[in-house]
Symmetry: C2
């Protein structure tokens, strides 16, 4: 029998994107696109001292994804790759990661820039971005070497990872 | 009533650290410390094309943490900060994030360098590290500006976030 790990959303991410199609595919391609986090007020005390950081890491639940795929054709390429060699949402545990710019905090509302997720996305965690820990130089980037880096800003999301007809929550009660 | 989001471990992270005390506090401070991921064989196909990446992002469950704290005194400082302004494990959803070096893959076993988690940690997700998406320049880093950046490599973990007497799974069935 498998172990269940149970989390609960700590808040909701509000963005201008009411649907998947046409969204930026990464936060680095969403500069200038503002959104906000409506944190559950019970967690607001945990934001103390966060405002000094210019960037924060958001971990969130891809709540519109149905099931998972081990091979996907990602937005950045026209060939299939293993799901763990991509950032596609159809993952066995559909957790999204975006690094966004922190603009300001008002009570339990966090104003951010660089949102690349659909409106209403359940938030799991916020971590401060710290260059010493989070930046890496001299990296190799596998199949991404064969595609233009500019694609990340040029290409927009489409519905390939989602059921357009009947979006349902994935393993979400 | 709150929404439950249910994940299941996709594998286990094996490291030399049998206990919390004395561990490196971040993966960037653990260069040369090797470990491996024992992925559940059913997910091994998802690793296709991952080997070309030099670095991968691991998301995992801090399974030894009991409950959460909204204020913590992190390893890097002697003053309390909000949990979301730190990387401490006692988070409302105790998800850990480490960027490690990918050495090689043999079947469903992934050999890695730079491990900063305890042996037996349940793995939730693997993402390829891609500098264009994941690096950020010109960042400000809040309270971390007041402490020496060298602390991240000098300081080792202690038991402050854990019960030494009776470690239990946190919201884990």
């Amino acid at each position: 029998m498998k172990t269940n790990i149970i989390y609960q959303p700590i808040g909701i991410i509000r963005t201008p994107f009411k649907e998947i199609t046409g969204m930026p595919i990464q936060s680095c391609a969403a500069t200038g696109t503002e959104g906000k986090i409506e944190l559950e007020p019970e967690f607001a005390a945990g934001l103390f001292d966060l405002e000094g950081f210019s960037h924060i890491i958001l971990l969130y639940h891809f709540h519109l994804v149905k099931g998972y795929k081990l091979y996907v054709v990602p937005f950045m390429d026209d060939k299939p790759h293993g799901i763990y060699a991509t950032r596609a949402p159809t993952r066995p545990n559909p957790i999204g990661l975006s690094i966004v710019e922190l603009k300001r905090i008002e009570g339990s509302v966090i104003y951010i820039d660089g949102v690349d997720m659909v409106d209403g996305t359940p938030l799991l965690d916020i971590k401060p971005f710290f260059g010493k820990i989070d930046n890496r130089e001299n990296v190799t980037r596998g199949w991404l070497d064969t595609v233009s880096e500019q694609n990340v800003t040029k290409i927009k999301s489409d519905g390939r990872f989602y059921s357009n007809k009947s979006p349902k929550l994935n393993r979400c009660e």
